[in-house]
């Protein structure tokens, strides 16, 4: 308990926690901004190559974070194609990697959420005078529960990943150290107790965020 208090009052833990929430929050937000329209397009539009793109997105949902980390690290490395941007070992690099991890999750689940709606609903809405944007917004509202689940899954996939953050962030104290990379560091140092407490801390934060989102989701479900 004493260690708990020490850790909670440790400014470094607060800093690491805030950075975790910041990078994963921004990555999730960007993933939603990309994944919601793209997933909607894949669900509603018919065009050549749609099945191929769906397969690519579904494969992307299972992307190993270390592979993403490797690809982003090679791209941002000083000798890499985007080396001049000097983003390697910065929070921005972690956001880029986490966006690549979360975007397919949000896209794939958005597409699945909209595809489970009755396809005739589109015709019905258009037949009642909806413009295409009005129809899409109405469909999003109809699929709001699975869409919130997509948001939760997207956030869950990045707040808990360690491989990509470690590879592109470098786990630099005061700069790119996030909760997961801090846990790895403490474990490597043999500080298992501290690592476990940080792990519990990560779980509590994840739980609280998902609790809030689930509350919003289930409030919608009760209104049914």
């Amino acid at each position: 308990m004493e260690l708990f208090n020490t850790i909670f009052s440790d400014p470094e833990v607060l800093e690491v926690t805030l950075l975790s929430l910041k990078v994963s929050g921004i990555a999730t937000l960007i993933s939603v901004l990309l994944g919601l329209p793209f997933g909607t397009l894949l669900a509603l539009a018919k065009f050549p190559g749609r099945s191929f793109l769906l397969t690519v997105v579904n494969t992307g949902m299972a992307l190993p974070p270390v592979v993403v980390g490797l690809a982003v690290a090679m791209s941002l490395w000083r000798s890499g194609p985007f080396g001049d941007l000097r983003l390697i070992y910065t929070p921005t690099a972690i956001i880029i990697a986490q966006t690549i991890i979360a975007a397919p999750v949000v896209t794939g689940l958005t597409s699945a959420a909209l595809q489970q709606l009755d396809p005739r609903l589109q015709l019905q809405l258009l037949g009642l005078g909806a413009s295409t944007p009005q129809m899409v917004v109405t469909l999003w509202r109809e699929a709001r529960l699975p869409l919130l689940a997509a948001l939760m899954a997207g956030f869950g996939s990045v707040i808990s990943e360690v491989g990509a953050s470690m590879m592109v962030g470098g786990n630099i104290k005061g700069s790119t150290r996030v909760l997961t990379t801090a846990i790895v560091l403490e474990t490597n140092k043999g500080e298992f107790e501290r690592a476990v407490i940080l792990g519990i801390f990560l779980l509590i934060i994840t739980f609280l965020i998902n609790y809030a989102l689930t509350w919003i989701q289930q409030r919608g479900a009760k209104q049914r």
Binding site: D118, L126, A130, E142
Partner: protein, 238 residues
């Protein structure tokens, strides 16, 4: 008689297969035109074409005498209302379900409330005002979908077998109420059905559709007592 829609040499294909080939068909203002025909004959495709949700490859459709392409598709669809076989109500209150088309048109809230309440009362739905649309019985849901269409005061009402999924007593009650409303509002209506009794009860004219073509048009009595050819006779089961 004023003609609202005139179809000329219309050809519609879906997935490269011709589903409609209609030489000529008119919908007169204020009439109820029933399209009857066996399943898979293209009735729903005709309705979707009339709603401009399917584009014809050939031919023309005149709306008030002007080629339909002269009208913007969205502006055109905001002059009609479509009711499908399944009510497809949204996961929200009955009020919001009925209001949705008016909201799409950007009507002010007080006008939306007034119009929706009027049609909820007219269709006997006032007690369901805040019930969720997804939790209604089949008959209640179809009443809501009719209110959702009538509240738009459409120049053309398109009904695609709206009663086929209902049990007999519910269907009869709704059929009676619909006939009363159509007579009161004088709404030009195209009704797709394969129920001859329904067609005879509601329609002023009946068009028989076989294999994507209109093969006979006339009053219900003319069509049902004098089929134009052996195929119509066979379809009518005479």
């Amino acid at each position: 008689m004023n003609t609202l829609i005139e179809i000329k040499d219309l050809v519609v294909r879906r997935d490269k297969r011709q589903v409609l080939g209609i030489e000529s068909l008119c919908v007169h203002k204020g009439e109820v035109l029933a399209i009857v025909g066996p399943n898979g004959t293209g009735k729903s495709s005709l309705l979707l074409t009339l709603a401009r949700l399917l584009e014809p490859e050939e031919g023309d459709m005149l709306w008030n005498g002007a080629p339909y392409r002269q009208h913007n598709a969205l502006a055109y669809r905001r002059r009609i209302a479509l009711v499908l076989q399944e009510p497809l109500l949204l996961d929200t209150s009955v009020f919001e379900n009925v209001a949705i088309g008016l909201r799409f048109r950007g009507l002010p809230s007080n006008q939306v409330r007034e119009n929706v309440q009027n049609w909820l009362v007219r269709l006997g739905l006032e007690k369901l005002y805040d019930r969720n649309g997804a939790r209604l019985s089949g008959g209640e849901a179809q009443r809501v979908s009719l209110a959702r269409a009538f509240v738009l005061d459409p120049e053309l009402l398109l009904l695609d077998e709206p009663f086929s999924a209902l049990d007999a007593p519910t269907r009869l009650r709704l059929l009676h109420d619909l006939k009363t409303i159509l007579q009161e509002t004088d709404t030009t209506t195209v009704l797709i059905t394969h129920d001859f009794k329904e067609a005879a009860h509601l329609a002023s004219r009946v068009a028989v559709m076989l294999e994507g073509r209109i093969v006979q048009v006339g009053t219900p009595q003319q069509v049902f007592s004098n089929p134009a050819n052996p195929q119509v006779t066979a379809f009518l089961g005479m």
